[in-house]
């Protein structure tokens, strides 16, 4: 009896969910494009270029590290970190309201699981879609950085700044995987503003984006080291400036990958609990 039917080469299930979300995005991208690219751009111009001039001329100019014996310009210090922040903000934005909409408002998750897709396929497909959104936004941001002179050849074969792009995607996934997993449990959207105000903004300010974490009081410094954003910021910056060591790259990639895996494990549980009660 146990005759396995030959299976046609079909698209993997999670990729089908990803395709669905991309079809949706093709119709709705205009609404989000400005906010996702404009916000980090404003920081780049206001702080990197304007404040940066003062910083570079002042007594703190040596605080931002050195490359080949030269102090790093503030704009170059800031820009790759802002890219990591773009990754975080895109990921959290895409992991909150859209998940609640798919779960509770439009119920498109419910539609998807009535097809051959499982709850985990739907979850994984959504996280993959957010990964692509992060890649898009960070790619656009990297292009803008180049226009504003915030990119200089560095690292192996001078492609350091390009290597920062996959690092930013990994950073985004480290937020998307756990936040999507959590968002699907939410009955109301009040938790989302808590995340925006008390997670995203403190991380934006204290994860080494604007100044090295070593400037933080010793007591709260370890907190910064635990946050995925600091690992993302340090990784993107190290790669973009060519100052990263193999050890630091391994540490950051390992940490971020561990957060992604823990998030996936959690998401498998929360999606099953919510969609297959």
């Amino acid at each position: 009896m146990a005759v396995e039917m030959p299976q046609p080469a079909a698209t993997p299930m999670a990729a089908r969910e990803l395709q669905g979300l991309l079809t949706n995005y093709r119709r709705t991208w205009r609404a989000s494009i400005f906010s996702s690219v404009l916000a980090p751009l404003m920081s780049l111009v206001a702080l990197g270029m304007s404040l940066g001039k003062i910083v570079d001329a002042g007594p703190g100019a040596h605080t931002f590290g050195t490359v080949d014996g030269q102090p790093v310009k503030y704009l170059l210090f800031l820009a790759p970190a802002l890219m990591a922040n773009t990754a975080m903000q895109t990921a959290i934005g895409e992991s909150t309201y859209p998940v609640m909409s798919a779960m509770k408002w439009q119920k498109t998750y419910h539609a998807a699981i009535a097809s051959p897709l499982s709850a985990f396929d739907v979850y994984l497909g959504h996280v993959m879609f957010i990964g692509l959104r992060v890649l898009m936004n960070c790619g656009i941001f990297l292009g803008t950085m180049a226009l504003f002179g915030a990119v200089e050849a560095a690292g192996p074969a001078g492609i350091g700044p390009l290597l920062a792009l996959p690092a930013a995607v990994l950073t985004g996934l480290a937020f998307a995987a756990p936040v999507v997993a959590w968002a699907v449990l939410q009955e109301r959207d009040t938790g989302f503003s808590v995340v925006f105000r008390f997670v995203m903004i403190p991380l934006f300010l204290f994860s080494g984006t604007f100044f090295p974490v070593s400037q933080l009081p010793a007591l709260i410094r370890p907190l910064a080291y635990v946050t995925p954003l600091w690992h993302g910021v340090d990784l993107c910056r190290g790669l973009a400036l060519g100052s990263a060591t193999a050890g630091s790259v391994l540490l950051h990639v390992g940490y971020l990958a561990a957060v992604v895996i823990a998030g996936l494990w959690y998401g498998a549980r929360t999606f099953r609990r919510r969609l297959n009660p």
Binding site: A2, R16, T108, S115
Partner: protein, 331 residues
Amino acid sequence: MAQITSADAPLIKAVGLRKVFPPAKRGGEPFTAVDGVDFELRRGEVFGFLGPNGAGKSSTMRMIGCVSPISGGELTILGMDPRVDSSRIKARLGVVPQEDSLDLELRVRENLLIYGRYFGLKRAEIAERTAELLEFVQLADRAESTVEPLSGGMKRRLTIARSLINSPEILILDEPTTGLDPQARHVVWDRLFRLKQAGTTLVLTTHYMDEAEQLCDRLVVMDHGRIAAEGSPRDLIERYSTREVLEIRFAPGSGDHESALAKAEGLIGTGERGSIDRLEELPDRILLYSDDGEAALAAVHGSGITPLASLVRRSSLEDVFLHLTGRTLVD
């Protein structure tokens, strides 16, 4: 993987099927939504689950749809076990959920495209099916409209079209016409009837008696998670009700209703012409079950009851329902 291939094997077979939800709060009681039901679905029939809200219809549907794991008993769908082969089973099912789950920002055609892709269908195939299906549900001229502004009836028809994208062997409909206006309901019924004529096997839940009577070949009446009766609508009426029903009404607040109720009980089982089998009290009227409604009305008048209004009609599924569940539909 053992697959039943025999043509007359049931498409769905449930034995002692149960669904128990864990307590919502710590220390609470678990909730038994489906409490041991048996049923079989045969190829080509329309099978209905009739019952009030909370009877366990939707939980049963969700287990059949492989989106809710069974808590006990056995469930076989298309010869497969949903615990092992849910993805394969779902590939051959069509589902019209109770609440529309359409992507409102997208166009009608794009909703079908996404859904077809979920089933791994090729784009060309989906385009062909989409044209046929939109024609079938009378939405061909709306293919490029955004879904959001469509009427409730149109969204329902689109949901039905979407559920057919994979040419399912079994179509599952959970309250397909709830919330639709009468005209929209008739359009949906007409389309479902055509599907039935074309040989599609349908499973549906409803709390509309007329819907069940119009569409179902066989149905079960569910109450409190159990099956109270099973049969064709005609069988059930013959088995659980009299040929005719006399409805009598009284002026509200006059006390006539209460006194008539006491007198009418004296007419039960007299053995004379117009004898009443049983009666049901509703908030606004009393139903007297008799094989001869006109004679029962004469007997009512003879016993000194003077109703404000009276009506003699044939028994319907609603009477079966009242008899089996002892209550009106709570909605």
